[in-house]
């Protein structure tokens, strides 16, 4: 992992939160290289022992937040509430669920009831 070009940007958080190092690395690479997001920044969520990733989709202006987690983790609604609080209440957050075969499944979470778009 150390030889990967993304390692440098992530190094401080990978060592600070080792349990979430794998999911953070996978999610960051998927967003940056796979999905080609721009302006990626890391936002520390100390209440959830991890850091979130903030950025934009290609050719779009909205700032989106992605919180990485592992499939083997157990999450609670309280945990989700904490992520919203620490990200200063965005309208929605993407939960990136990482697996060991490198598949990532993204779930969009919004506080409250949201009507489907179409």
């Amino acid at each position: 992992m150390e030889k990967h070009p993304s390692y440098e940007a992530l190094a401080p958080y990978l060592s600070k939160y080792p349990k979430i190092a794998g999911p953070l690395f996978q999610t960051y690479n998927d967003l940056k290289l796979g999905q080609q997001w721009t302006g990626l920044e890391l936002v520390e969520l100390s209440g959830c022992s991890r850091c979130a990733i903030r950025g934009r989709r290609p050719q779009q202006v909205d700032l989106l937040h992605v919180v990485p987690c592992s499939l083997s983790e157990s999450l609670s609604t309280d945990w989700i509430r904490t992520t919203f609080k620490e990200l200063d209440g965005p309208s929605h957050v993407y939960l990136a669920i990482n697996t060991e075969d490198s598949s990532i499944v993204y779930y969009k979470i919004s506080p409250g009831i949201v009507k489907p778009p179409l």
Binding site: P18, Q26, G34, S72, T99, D101, S102, L118
Partner: protein, 389 residues
């Protein structure tokens, strides 16, 4: 959209022949037959021996404890492991590593073959267009009904596109491509050459299967780059689940998640199924008859660990998923999700041996796997009113 449902089996003959050629070997080991006319071979054959040689590709990968996987970084091994048995997944791709091909294709904007991701994007764009057309049609029908009601007449029958009959309009898309190409040509010289940053990622179960059963993979230590022995691999793959490592509570446990998942993986692989991860369908494993390129997975497997001795479960530091009694609503949800995508649900019960009956010394080698039992139950929903036979 109806054409999409069976598209997996409606590939052209040329494509099918090409796939049969590329994916001819079901496992990384290949057999090379001696020339047919040799008398020596014939004589040996009479005695029950064979001159057939086994070709072992001797692939190499690096163990990455953070992502709990083994990374194959060189292209030759990555290609062999994917094409002979569909092992692993490109970490920036849907299936086989195609990130570099997609980047090059995006730069040239003139790809001859669409990668799986590009086909997916096209399908998503079409589905989005269909949804917009449908929403517009619904809104129009509602407005028409309102107007008709206000005027006291019957509304005209609504025409709402359904998935089966809607066809994508080609007009908008093709107009854009020619505009992009000239820009790319100017930028081409200034762009740096692309470095492939993708790797093939094997789960620990896949890697162990290749190492232990086929002996065609060498796993390197991430710090020293030295090959790990089978004993070291066996220990290391279990230790990733022990955080922090080497605590006494973690050692000598039959319910280590690696062991439980490996029992199920090995069971299906040894029966000839291609086993991949099933997170997209809320299951643990997907079973393919030949491989993902041939047909969609027919079965989705949920691995349910069963403790032979409940005291082992009470003392367990691992919180194995699905180890407790599940609710009917959970089962119903997963079955529904899989029925919608025409998959059959299989519940695979892996029985974890009791540490009081089986000595934990056996855990020092893979021989302990013989003490796990795997039973599978196929689930099908019965609708008595409709299914009479």
């Amino acid at each position: 959209m109806a054409s999409n449902r069976n598209r997996g089996s409606q590939k052209s003959g040329a494509r099918r022949a090409e796939n049969n050629r590329i994916y001819a070997h079901p496992l990384p080991l290949a057999f090379s037959n001696p020339e047919p006319g040799s008398t020596f071979g014939y004589v040996l054959g009479l005695l029950g021996f064979s001159l057939t040689k086994i070709e072992n590709p001797h692939c190499e990968g690096v163990f990455d404890p953070a992502t709990r996987s083994v990374w194959i970084t060189n292209e030759r091994d990555s290609s062999i492991l994917w094409r002979r048995g569909f092992f692993g997944k490109g970490d920036l791709s849907r299936s086989e590593p195609s990130w570099l091909a997609r980047q090059i294709s995006a730069r040239k904007a003139a790809g001859k073959y669409m990668t799986a991701e590009e086909i997916r994007e096209k399908r998503r764009a079409e589905r989005k267009q269909f949804k917009m057309d449908r929403a517009a049609a619904i809104a129009k029908a509602a407005a028409e009904a309102e107007a008709a009601f206000a005027e006291g007449r019957q509304a005209a029958p609504a025409v709402i596109p359904s998935g089966a009959t809607w066809k994508p309009q080609q007009l908008g898309e093709t107009a854009e491509l020619p505009e992009e190409a000239p820009d790319d040509k100017d930028e081409d010289d200034e762009l740096e050459p692309l470095k492939d940053v993708e790797h093939l990622q094997l789960t620990l179960q896949e890697a162990f299967f290749l190492v232990w059963n086929l002996d065609c993979l060498t796993v390197l230590d991430p710090q020293t780059s030295e090959p790990l022995s089978l004993q070291q691999i066996w220990k290391a793959f279990q230790n990733v689940h022990c955080v922090p490592p080497e605590l006494p509570v973690y050692t000598n446990r039959f319910d280590n998640p690696f062991l439980v998942n490996y029992a199920a993986y090995h069971y299906y692989r040894s029966l000839g199924w291609v086993v991949k991860g099933g997170i997209k369908f809320c299951v643990d494993l997907l079973l393919y008859k030949r491989g993902p390129v041939f047909h969609h997975a027919e079965f989705g497997v949920v691995v349910i660990p069963v403790y032979e001795d409940s005291r082992d479960q009470e003392s367990s530091p691992f919180n194995l998923p699905n180890a407790n009694t599940f609710s009917w609503s959970w089962l119903s949800t997963i079955n529904r999700v899989n029925s919608q995508v025409q998959k059959t649900l299989i519940l695979t019960y892996v029985t974890i041996p009791s540490s009081s009956r089986v000595s934990t010394d056996l855990l020092s080698s893979p021989a302990c796997l013989a003490h796990y039992s795997v039973r599978d139950v196929v689930l099908r929903r019965l609708i008595p009113a409709r299914m009479r036979d």
